[in-house]
């Protein structure tokens, strides 16, 4: 239920977490000999918003990438609904990968500069074989949800603001109706009103879909408002 360090009083034995949900078990990750995550457990149940806190370099983003099935831990494993996953990235089938969506801190790095915003949002659908018309309809629906006007959809990333681009990234993250949404400092680069809108869209989606959300943020106010449970990641 919580991120733990060995010996911590509230340490949860591996396997004690409830079966439903997205969970990291005893995850270790090292970069060039420097251990960033040391036997970390984290559990995100459907319907809850877990806040993840920790100093810079404590491995928050790495943990998010591990949970998003994008980075293979050196040891430990990730489970979805209690099922251990045998691999990351392309070793997992697309249906499984699309159950977890991730929203990155920098929308500019997270979008292909060659694609229009409409293509950015529709790409996950097109990649998994959805016909063009259906993908376009879903794109329009999501653009409306996140507050992007149709004329913005024809523009490329370099011609829109960070806030507008992050809205497109949010639409892309929701396009497959994921069961889990990981927000890795997703609102750090945004102005207050966009930040509030992004948080509202995520909260609303979570309520309707019963999705589990992981929020990484340095903003105490946002954390307090958003997260139902806060987990501290110790410094590496």
């Amino acid at each position: 239920m919580t991120a733990t360090v060995p010996g911590a009083a509230d340490a949860v034995a591996p396997g004690a977490a409830p079966a439903g949900g997205l969970a990291a078990h005893q995850v270790c990750v090292a970069y060039g000999g420097q251990r960033v995550l040391d036997r970390v457990d984290l559990h995100v149940a459907p319907g809850e918003t877990v806040g993840l806190r920790g100093p810079s370099g404590s491995g928050k983003s790495t943990l998010a990438r591990v949970l998003a099935l994008l980075h293979a831990p050196d040891s430990g494993h990730v489970t979805i609904d209690g099922e251990p996953l045998g691999g990351v990235r392309h070793r997992l089938p697309a249906q499984l990968r699309t159950r977890v969506a991730i929203l990155f801190q920098s929308p500019r790095a997270a979008t292909d500069p060659r694609l229009s915003l409409a293509d950015v949002i529709a790409e996950p659908l097109r990649a998994t074989g959805t016909p063009r018309e259906q993908a376009a309809a879903r794109t329009a629906e999501l653009a409306d949800l996140v507050g992007l006007t149709p004329d913005l959809l024809t523009r490329r990333p370099h011609a829109v603001s960070d806030g507008q681009l992050q809205r497109a990234c949010l639409a892309r993250a929701l396009v497959h109706r994921p069961d889990y949404l990981l927000c890795d400092e997703a609102t750090a680069m945004l102005d207050a009103s966009t930040q509030a809108h992004v948080a509202a869209v995520v909260t609303d989606y979570q309520r309707r879909q019963g999705a589990g959300v992981l929020v990484i943020t340095h903003d105490p106010a946002l954390m307090k408002r958003w997260a139902t449970r806060v987990v501290d990641l110790p410094a590496a």
Binding site: H90, R97, I102, E123, T128
Partner: protein
């Protein structure tokens, strides 16, 4: 935004960009058009020997004089440039295909395949490439094909490295992560998100290779290992012209040499401009 706020490179491009580019376009266009249309515009026999008119100085009749066999140097230079440009372009294209495939496989498969391919690249790169080119020419039947093979087989290395390193730097970008998390398969990630970013660089590297390949062909022909002597190529002409040089007939070597320098320099200027504009940041700022 004031002009001063822009990076120096952008300001320079704005100020001199269009003028310098126009000069290069006109020069390259003119030279290439003259070379390609030579048989139509001047339907004379460039290889006609006239021993009564050898080593004539430039005159209205022979704009660049004649060589030691009485052939018109200007006309023969244009024909030579045709051959040199053809060899250079085809060799650069073949090198780009070899290097592109090797780099794409190494950069997208990774692991031991990547390591093995890169060791091959390192090994070939460790050999002096003119020497290796001479070896390849010596192994094959002399002619255009041998020269093209010799240049292509020694010049795919940099392309392979460029494509591989571009793929490696793109592979772990968040937008590729997002595509994978969104369900895109390996082939779609490669064809839709990785290769389109590499293609402009590959095209640029190929174009930059053309002047180099032309010079390489010239070097091989100058050494007498390239194209057969009767075929007018820039290298053959410079080589032939050496005999006239000692008698004071400088034009037989200098004119084809100058033509080559002019054409390749204009091409290099254009590809340099292209490379500057390829940077999306510079491109976006130029549009402001």
């Amino acid at each position: 935004m004031t002009d001063l706020a822009l990076p120096a490179r952008v300001r320079r491009l704005r100020r001199t960009g269009s003028a310098g580019t126009m000069v290069a376009v006109v020069v390259l266009g003119g030279v290439v058009a003259a070379a390609l249309l030579a048989p139509v515009l001047w339907p004379l026999d460039q290889s006609a020997v006239d021993l009564s008119r050898t080593r004539l100085a430039p005159s209205p009749e022979h704009l660049a004089g004649t060589d030691d066999l009485g052939r018109d140097v200007a006309l023969r230079s244009l024909y030579g440039l045709r051959v040199s440009l053809l060899v250079g372009a085809v060799a650069a294209l073949v090198a780009a295909v070899i290097g592109g495939v090797v780099g794409a496989v190494a950069g997208s498969v990774g692991g031991w395949v990547d390591r093995a391919l890169m060791r091959v690249v390192d090994t070939v790169a460790a050999l002096p490439h003119l020497l290796l080119g001479i070896f390849v020419v010596a192994m094959l039947r002399p002619g255009l094909g041998a020269v093209i093979a010799s240049i292509a087989l020694t010049h795919w290395l940099s392309t392979a490295r460029i494509v591989r390193s571009e793929l490696l730097s793109l592979r772990n970008r968040p937008f590729v992560d997002a595509a994978i998390a969104g369900g895109a398969g390996r082939v779609r990630v490669l064809t839709r998100h990785l290769l389109p970013h590499v293609l402009p660089r590959l095209a640029l590297a190929t174009t930059l290779m053309v002047p180099h390949a032309v010079w390489h062909e010239t070097a091989l022909s100058f050494l007498g290992l390239g194209l057969p002597p009767h075929l007018a190529s820039i290298g053959n002409m410079i080589n032939d012209g050496q005999r006239s040089l000692l008698t004071g007939a400088w034009w037989a070597s200098i004119v084809p040499g100058l033509l080559l320098v002019t054409a390749t320099l204009a091409l290099a200027v254009l590809t340099g401009r292209w490379r500057d504009r390829l940077d999306p940041r510079v491109r976006a700022e130029l549009q402001l």
